[in-house]
């Protein structure tokens, strides 16, 4: 998936490629653990089950990642699907999350998500209070 993703980036217009490269270099890919700042900051935990078939979902998901990464306050994202999908995006404030939720293209994606891409989902907005790791 990483390889596919990179190949796709090479085909993009310069500006988008540059943007995506920034995402890759500074925020990591979705299969990396996000490099987030010292807490407190915020997370949106999106847990979902897909409907059958793609129906334009893959393209939308890529586009939403590009758009989210351009939003003020975006800190990173981690995403995995194996039946159940869990995507956690990280943000500097609740205001940044609200702005992203109101983004016009994202609103359309939310509408289509409810209508055809997800059979079930749950969105949880959380304040990260502490973190640690290896």
């Amino acid at each position: 998936m990483q390889t596919l993703y990179n190949k796709k980036l090479q085909l993009m217009p310069d500006k988008l490629a540059q943007l995506s490269m920034n995402v890759k270099c500074t925020k990591g890919s979705m299969s990396d653990i996000a490099r987030t700042p010292e807490p407190p900051y915020y997370a949106v935990i999106f847990s979902s089950h897909r409907t059958e078939g793609d129906n334009g979902y893959g393209e939308m998901a890529d586009r939403m990642l590009e758009l989210a990464a351009r939003q003020p306050g975006f800190l990173g994202v981690e995403s995995v699907r194996e039946g159940l999908g869990i995507t956690v995006s990280y943000w500097d404030s609740l205001e940044s999350i609200s702005e992203w939720k109101r983004n016009t293209e994202h609103r359309e994606a939310q509408r289509l998500g409810r209508k055809k891409w997800y059979s079930n989902f749950r969105v949880r907005v959380a304040k990260i209070e502490r973190e640690y790791g290896i």
Copy 2:
């Protein structure tokens, strides 16, 4: 449901097969979206990359799920791995999370996790402030 669940567990702490069945019936399996109460409540977001080979990891993971589900304040868990692994466990309070972190068997699992099962991980403790879904 919470009360019923806890009572059931107290009646048969040593019958792990039955316990697992109850976990599945009352809290959902890890591939379901957790049925959590009205916020506020807490989450532990565990993002990780595994080392090569199993080395006892699968057995430990099953055992930790059983143990976690018996902890006071456990609300549910969602877990997915596809290269990157994301496990989100939900708890009623920070105190319940601290108790779970101090559990003797869990401490040993944490030690082995750092030593041999994970090449990289990040633990984020978060307060769920709001949620919505389909």
